[in-house]
């Protein structure tokens, strides 16, 4: 732009740029919102889930359990399976450890291996001890656990939200 005089051509250039900018913003914001909308939805914690009766769960052994959570994702209901292991340390109804079977590395499912006395992950050879602690392999943290309660009929119920365990 030369001096104080704005030429017709420069004015047209600036105006085109300004209008273009406004249009870009007016289109860009809705489009970004449109694309990321499902990522902004909050994941609600599910209702507590009964996983068995105490009398059916042996003491001193890892007892596997699983549950399904069905969520509405978009126009479909998606059922996902989760699972874990219940360890009753003694007869007392509050002396229970409930570990998640989801490997803390990349979410494969671990299995209890009696002879190794550890949870083994088939994907990248992780090894977790009986308290869920990492013994070997790539996982960054111990297996997660679930909160639980036992009612007067002896039904064991968990809150289906995996909690981080202390290292």
């Amino acid at each position: 732009m030369s001096g104080s005089h704005l030429s017709r051509r420069d004015f047209m250039k600036a105006a085109t740029g300004a209008v273009g900018g406004v249009i870009t913003a007016a289109l860009g914001i809705p489009v970004i919102g449109f694309l990321i909308a499902p990522a902004l939805r909050e994941d609600k914690a599910g209702a507590p889930i009964a996983v068995g009766k105490l009398e059916d769960i042996p003491v001193g052994k890892f007892h596997p359990f699983s549950f399904t959570i069905t969520k509405v994702n978009g126009w479909e209901r998606t059922a996902s399976n989760y699972g874990g292991f219940i360890l009753r340390n003694s007869e007392a109804p509050d002396d229970i450890l409930i570990l998640s079977s989801r490997c803390t590395h990349l979410s494969c499912t671990v299995n209890w291996n009696e002879s190794a006395n550890a949870f083994l992950c088939p994907c990248h050879d992780a090894k977790f001890g009986p308290e869920g602690q990492v013994l070997d392999g790539p996982p960054p943290e111990p297996l997660g656990h679930f909160e639980y309660s036992v009612d007067d009929q002896g039904v064991l119920t968990i809150v289906p939200v995996e909690l981080k365990s202390e290292a």
């Binding site: 809705p30 489009v31 694309l35 990321i36 909308a37 978009g74 126009w75």
Partner: protein
């Protein structure tokens, strides 16, 4: 820095030449009716962009097509806007392309050397109508279903070949999942690809021949 980058690109891509040939042409002396072709191009790009975004959620299956569109309308941020633009843009595009053609006819711009530009334009109009026809089925609601039943039935009334045409359009004797899927494929891949290609040739011819002389008293 920018100057260097520009020079680097210009040497390889010939940006300056492109600018001179495509944009720095003599200022048109025509009138506003001559902007309808550019308006058609803009609408094509708008339909393309909004259409691509719709495919993020839209599902071409009889079980989910309608649900996925309800989801776009009610649960996706600005879904109503993107779909609304695509929905109304479709009708507007047919209208604008048609008026563009009427203008070319009225100003007799289809004469030598522009006959090919006109013929390709006819193809563009038919393809745009094809986009409307195939897109209309996609929501898979009653209106879409019966409109396509009727539309394909009409195509089926062609002598001798009718039965075959009807089956080829529907992917069988009845409207089914196959119909929805092939209409979707035509709507998002085949017809847009043909449109884009023909638009390219159309525009090349327009730049090559320049704007036609606007008829005056002597014509």
């Amino acid at each position: 820095m920018w100057q260097k980058l520009y020079t680097w690109l210009d040497e390889r891509l010939g940006l300056g030449d492109m600018y001179a040939n495509l944009l720095d042409r003599p200022e048109p002396k025509g009138n506003w009716w001559n902007t309808l072709g550019s308006a058609s191009l803009f609408l094509f790009i708008l339909q393309g962009a909004t259409g691509i975004f719709l495919t993020v959620y839209y599902t071409p299956s009889p079980d989910h097509a309608y649900d996925s569109i309800t989801y776009i309308m009610n649960d996706v941020a600005f879904g109503w806007l993107i779909r609304g633009i695509h929905h109304w843009g479709a009708s507007l595009m047919v209208l604008v392309v048609f008026i563009h053609m009427v203008r070319v006819f009225v100003t007799a711009s289809y004469k030598y050397p522009r006959e090919l530009t006109w013929l390709i334009g006819v193809g563009l109009l038919l393809l745009t109508l094809g986009m409307g026809f195939t897109g209309y089925l996609l929501p898979w609601h009653q209106m879409a279903y019966w409109a396509t039943t009727v539309g394909t039935q009409i195509a089926g009334s062609v002598p001798f070949l009718g039965e075959f045409i009807l089956k080829a359009l529907r992917g069988g004797p009845d409207l089914s999942a196959l119909t929805l899927q092939r209409f979707f494929s035509a709507h998002i891949w085949m017809l847009p690809a043909l449109l884009a290609g023909l638009i390219g040739v159309h525009l090349y011819l327009i730049i090559r021949h320049g704007e036609s002389h606007f008829p005056d008293e002597e014509d």
